[in-house]
């Protein structure tokens, strides 16, 4: 007995919207970064599931998820560097405290 594709898609879609919700409600930059990782991982699940269930003869989807993992690591590295610099300048990583520009 195997798990149907719809179940996996349900998990990945739920993960995507949890990530989006977290990004818009959390105010701590590290948590916002974690929410973005959730979004990217939901995409990974999608790719691997589609590849395994619908198009098992080609490896397009699996390779795409490998690239996403790599690029997400690069993105996290730059984002954390920016957050460290932000902390040096503002003494806080809460987005509510970072309000230099208001029109």
């Amino acid at each position: 007995m195997s798990i149907p594709l719809t179940h996996i898609l349900f998990v990945s879609t739920a993960l995507f919207f949890i990530g989006t919700y977290g990004l818009f409600t959390r105010r701590n930059l590290i948590t916002m970064l974690m929410s973005i990782e959730l979004i990217l991982n939901s995409v990974n699940i999608n790719f691997v599931a589609f590849n395994k269930y619908l198009y098992p003869d080609k490896l397009n989807g699996v390779f795409f998820s490998l690239f996403i993992i790599t690029v997400a690591a690069a993105e996290a590295a730059v984002a954390i560097a920016i957050i460290i610099n932000l902390y040096r300048n503002h003494r806080s990583i809460d987005v509510e405290d970072v309000k230099e520009m208001k029109n």
Partner: protein, 468 residues
């Protein structure tokens, strides 16, 4: 092997330049002036090499392809990079990380080149990320400034979220069709609910990158906080490259859904023009003002894209070329004033003509071109965009766009009035223009006048273009 060298020539040159600068940074103690001279020379070489020995063809199973239109688009971006680099020299001279700036800038350009020549969604994604992650680091380049780090933080969060949306869209496209290649996708995509949902997500991702209205909220803050060189790069080159890809994705991959995306673009372009204009009227910081004016310009470009004919592609490429000249001329003056005096308010420019007649004329010509006053190129650019939009017979859209051109005259001419007519007790003092920015301004002003008045350039772009 020869094919590989010839077709990927532009990418390979950029890669070699990046590694040269990296080795110079590690191995030698060069002065800032020497590095700036070398980098500008290499960029000039890169631009010149882009015009020679070009071929059409594809590599790696269709993952990478190039044709004369793509080569032209890359040359436009190289030209813009050279102008940005010339303009930022007076700011960079005082900075302690000059080679790093160029490495980040050229990595960005390399990502854009791969993104433009892509024939596969995987390559497209990697190119897009390569052209947006280093940009966040560049926005933070004024390391000690509070505004700069805030701008970088806002940029990386919104750009990561945008690529998340885009990726989710791509994964659904893959699920619906089973392929990632552009040519195969076009024959597999139907107008069913899943492709439409995937397209909405992809459109949202694109809209973030080119700051179309419901997704424009990051633009003004990032433009204001980032160093002026990065702002001008972001507003012209980065947007231009995404626009080129957007056009080719819409016209090749989503060809079967033309009716659906026409309606979406119709609503988005009206909103973008209207909100960009209304917010531009009330800005007092000149960088924020240029940010909102660039949002409105994107709205006009979307009007052109809705035309979906050969004229549409030609008008978009032509307008981006003009936009490179006119927006970079405006940013060049703003960058010079801001790097010497640190003043960035619109009211600071009152009485600017009394002290700096040359800079005043450059800024005025640039603003005339952005607004679309006839003898300048901006008029012809907007004329072709509206003509392409009118090809579909949707006169509501054209009327809204034309009326908004009148509104935009108000806020562009408000600055011209401040420069020439308003009195000011403490005008900006007389500024000496260094050689490199002077050269950049000369290229921009010459471009604004020549691109509009010689029909040859438009005819050439039109002959390379393709329609839906």
């Amino acid at each position: 092997m020869i094919d590989f060298l010839l077709l990927m020539k532009q990418e390979l040159i950029i890669t070699v330049i990046i590694f040269t600068l990296l080795l110079l940074k590690i191995g030698t103690e060069m002065s800032n002036t020497a590095i700036l001279n070398l980098a500008n020379g290499l960029l000039l070489f890169n631009l010149a090499a882009g015009f020679m020995g070009n071929q059409a063809g594809m590599l790696f199973d269709g993952m990478f392809f190039t044709n004369p239109l793509i080569v032209l688009q890359k040359n436009i971006l190289s030209l813009g990079t050279l102008i940005v680099s010339l303009q930022s020299s007076s700011w960079l001279k005082k900075h302690e990380h000059v080679p790093e700036f160029y490495i980040l800038l050229l990595s960005n350009l390399l990502g854009m080149f791969f993104m433009i020549s892509t024939g596969n969604l995987l390559m497209f994604y990697v190119g897009l990320e390569l052209s947006s992650i280093p940009l966040a680091a560049m926005a933070n380049f004024d390391l000690g400034k509070r505004k700069s780090s805030e701008a970088a933080m806002k940029f990386i969060v919104s750009s990561a979220f945008a690529s998340g949306l885009l990726l989710f869209g791509i994964s659904l496209v893959y699920g619906a069709t089973g392929t990632l290649t552009f040519s195969e996708l076009a024959s597999h995509i139907t107008g069913g609910p899943l492709p439409v949902f995937a397209f909405v997500l992809l459109l949202a991702g694109f809209a973030f990158k080119i700051s179309v209205v419901p997704f424009h909220l990051w633009t003004a803050d990032v433009y204001e906080g980032a160093p002026v060189a990065v702002t001008s790069w972001l507003s012209v080159i980065s947007k231009g490259s995404v626009l080129f890809v957007f056009v080719s994705v819409l016209y090749t991959v989503f060809k079967p859904m033309a009716g659906t995306w026409y309606n979406m673009l119709f609503v988005l372009s009206m909103l973008t023009i209207l909100i960009g204009n209304l917010f531009a009227i009330r800005q007092n910081n000149i960088k924020r003002f240029l940010a909102f004016s660039s949002i409105a310009q994107i709205g006009f470009i979307l009007v052109g894209i809705t035309g979906s004919s050969q004229l549409a592609t030609a008008s978009v490429v032509y307008f981006v070329l003009i936009y490179v000249f006119s927006n970079l001329a405006a940013f060049g003056v703003v960058a010079l004033v801001s790097s010497v005096t640190g003043r960035e308010q619109v009211s600071d420019y009152k009485g600017f003509y009394k002290t700096n007649p040359v800079l005043s004329w450059v800024l005025t010509i640039a603003l005339f071109s952005l607004a679309g006053v006839p003898p300048t190129a901006g008029f012809f650019g907007k004329f072709f965009l509206l003509m392409s939009g009118a090809g579909k017979g949707n006169y509501v859209l054209i009327t809204v766009a034309a009326l908004n051109m009148i509104i935009s005259f108000y806020y562009y001419l408000r600055i011209v009035k401040a420069i020439f007519m308003d009195a000011n007790e403490h005008p900006i003092e007389h500024l000496a223009i260094p050689a490199y920015p002077k050269l950049a301004m000369f290229i921009c002003v010459a471009g604004i006048i020549i691109t509009g008045l010689t029909g040859y350039i438009y005819d050439y772009i039109h002959s390379l273009s393709f329609g839906l």
